[in-house]
């Protein structure tokens, strides 16, 4: 009896497996590394939003292995430009991850020039390539055919000191052609260059942060002691990116609430921090491990941005309001984990992570969960409440613990005048402000609908009480009159 039963179960399993593997969509599996933070700052397991599908390195590309690549960028036509720092070259891959071209030289007025440890790269809408040629202290601007357009070298300005040497590390270019350079040893923010390559100004300096205890020490120190101490200087940025509207997104390692900044043309930080926590990477960490060290940022469409934490190799993605959408990655040896992640790029439903020591790129694609969530946030940003509602419902069905999704559902219910359901959803996402809005509308409608009943009850009660009081007075007076007689 028993063995037969066992055999049936085996058969059933085989059948399920055989049919189950035919599904083409990347399915969400149980993955302990995927989590999200709840309102109470607990790490709650979540379905993985992205899954690693492939690794590409020099060998698989059929070229010399990459040596300490530091940056890469995906152009709007989905070509991937990798700054292969150690080999002083730029590698270009097409959308199927095959090598299209390798640039090692370019020409300045007929003479051959090479790169020297280029650390940053950026490609604009017209496929113009901007390379931070760090070792040669210059930024090289090439057009789509890799012919030289201009070179930005050490700028001359009264804003800069005489000892300053221009070592560009990262570059970004906005839609108007303004060039932003993150240079080594610059504490005043990013260096902004005009379209012609002239240095115009610094933008978006980090604020100086003073440790109160250290400040107290300095107050008591003598001048000689003070000169020996470290100066307060603003922290440097670690990376930057530009979105379609020309806003700069920057990361630093300040250990504060604004490690991610969205900088407008005036240099103000305008990042929305409406989530349960400021976007800072990990919210919970031990003192020995330290907070997340954000070293790269990638802005995608519809305000969604991702940051890379080099300390734990995790990638955090936030929506425009600052809600944490999902986390994936990690340090390790399995597929989907990294050794020294240095740069990330995000486009469509793909995610690329560049590893410096291993010289390889890990390709991630969105799972069904990730796709739905991305699509929900996109349609919400577009103002398509109906679709956003439907997609957020689907997301919540896959992950009931994703609290901010309920705000999305609630807001679209509010648009459809379904106040009670909206209130319920805002309660799920612990969103008191929106709950209050929904409640006021709900209460007004309730009062208006039942105005007759409420008013007649109040008037009725008042008149009944008055009648009783008047009657009692009259009765008392009568009694008194009787007594007096």
């Amino acid at each position: 009896m028993y063995p037969i039963k066992k055999r049936y179960i085996t058969l059933l399993t085989v059948i399920i497996l055989a049919f189950g593997t035919g599904i083409p969509v990347v399915k969400a599996s149980v993955d302990q590394r995927s989590y999200n933070y709840s309102y109470w700052a607990d790490a709650v397991p979540a379905p993985p939003a992205y899954q690693a599908v492939r690794i590409i390195d020099g060998e698989r590309l059929g070229i010399e292995p990459l040596s300490e690549p530091n940056d890469f960028h995906v152009s709007p036509n989905r070509y991937i430009y990798v700054a292969d720092t150690g080999n002083n070259r730029i590698i270009i891959l097409d959308e199927t991850f095959d090598v299209v071209d390798v640039i090692e030289t370019f020409f300045i007025e007929g003479s051959k020039e090479t790169f020297s440890s280029p650390q940053g790269i950026f490609v604009n809408d017209e496929q113009h390539v901007f390379i931070a040629d760090t070792g040669n202290n210059r930024v090289v601007h090439l057009d789509a055919n890799f012919d030289l357009i201009k070179i930005v070298e050490q700028p001359e300005s009264e804003l800069l000191s005489d000892q300053f040497t221009f070592r560009p590390l990262k570059v970004a270019v906005d839609y108007a052609g303004r060039l932003f350079v993150m240079a080594d040893g610059v504490f005043d923010g990013f260096m902004e260059f005009s379209v012609d390559g002239y240095f115009t100004t610094f933008i978006g300096a980090n604020r100086v942060r003073v440790d109160p205890i250290e400040y107290l020490w300095k107050r008591f120190a003598t001048r000689e002691q003070r000169s020996q101490m470290v100066n307060y200087v603003p922290t440097e940025f670690t990376n930057l990116d530009v979105n379609e509207q020309g806003f700069l997104y920057a990361t630093n390692v300040d250990n504060s609430d604004d490690v991610i900044k969205k900088i407008n043309a005036r240099g103000d930080d305008i990042l929305r921090r409406e989530g349960y926590f400021s976007p800072i990477g990990d919210v919970r960490y031990t003192q020995t491990d330290g907070s997340s060290r954000l070293i790269d940022i990638s802005v995608a469409d519809y305000e969604i941005y991702s940051v890379l934490d080099s300390r734990r190799g995790r990638i955090f993605t936030y929506n425009g309001d600052g809600h944490l959408m999902y986390v994936f990655g990690g340090i390790g040896n399995r597929l989907g984990e990294f050794h020294t992640p240095i740069a990330i790029e995000r486009y469509d439903d793909y995610f690329l992570v560049l590893d410096r020591e291993l010289g390889e790129i890990t390709i991630f694609t969105a799972t069904l969960y990730g796709q739905t969530l991305n699509e929900a946030v996109r349609s919400y940003e577009q103002g398509d409440e109906e679709l956003a509602h439907q997609l957020f419902e689907e997301v919540v069905n896959m992950n009931v613990n994703l609290e901010f999704a309920y705000t999305g559902i609630g807001k679209s219910l509010l648009q459809q005048d379904q106040y009670e359901q909206a209130m319920h959803n805002f309660e799920q996402s612990l969103d008191q402000n929106n709950y209050s809005k929904a409640y006021l509308l709900y209460r007004n409608r309730l009062l208006r609908d039942h105005f007759n009943v409420i008013m007649s009850t109040i008037l009725g009660t008042v008149s009944v009480i008055t009648i009783i009081v008047v009657y009692r007075k009259i009765a008392k007076r009568k009694r008194r009159v009787l007594v007096e007689q």
Binding site: Q432, N433, R443
Partner: protein
């Protein structure tokens, strides 16, 4: 319990000087004590209910950290600490109050916290974010009223001057800190002693 006993705590909150005087010199201690326990009980109930049922606008609680038994501790321990510290100090400072009298006066001073907060549990379900201001306003009002009653109660029970009462209250709060520290020290020592004996027991068991 007749209706006078039910009315008395409310009478005391509105006429504190007269009320505390009568409480000490005119009224039956046994009945006062019963009312005091009832007030403590209603304060605990109010706190538990407001954790669970106060409106979402003013009350976000973590269901994983909610513990109604702890609410009992949060009420009883401070009251007991206060009474012990106050009694210990005032016996040295020519206070006329006995421990029972201090306890009763303290409990009667808690009445505004119940009287104002209890209706708000229900009311807070019908307010918006802007109207929540009134909620917080009346909460602070309840606390201020409570502090005033504790002050008057202390003054009457011990027959102090106002300035001496303020001084005693400050000292009492400091003494409460000392008591808390001593309790922690005591418990941690007990814990270590228990751990020590249990380790010895384990050693013996493993050996033989």
């Amino acid at each position: 319990m007749n209706s006078d006993n039910i009315k008395y705590p409310f009478h005391l909150t509105t006429h504190p000087f007269q009320g505390f005087w009568d409480l000490k010199y005119e009224r039956n201690t046994r009945i006062n004590l019963t009312i005091s326990f009832f007030i403590l009980f209603s304060l605990i109930v109010t706190n538990v209910l407001s954790n669970q049922y106060a409106g979402f606008i003013v009350n976000i609680y973590n269901p994983e950290e909610m513990n109604s038994l702890m609410e009992i501790v949060y009420v009883l321990i401070p009251v007991l600490f206060w009474c012990t510290a106050n009694w210990s100090l005032t016996t040295l400072m020519d206070g006329e109050g006995k421990f029972v009298e201090i306890f009763i006066a303290t409990c009667f001073a808690l009445v505004p916290l119940v009287m104002i907060n209890f209706p708000w549990i229900w009311l807070s379900n019908f307010i918006s974010m802007q109207e929540a201001m009134f909620y917080y306003l009346s909460q602070s009002f309840a606390v201020i009223w409570f502090i005033f009653l504790i002050f008057v109660g202390n003054m009457t029970v011990h027959q102090y001057t106002p300035s001496k009462t303020i001084g005693t209250i400050v000292l009492t709060i400091i003494a409460m800190g000392f008591i808390a520290f001593l309790c922690l020290l005591f418990f941690s020592l007990i814990q270590q002693i228990i751990a020590f004996f249990s380790v010895i027991y384990q050693e013996i068991v493993f050996r033989y």
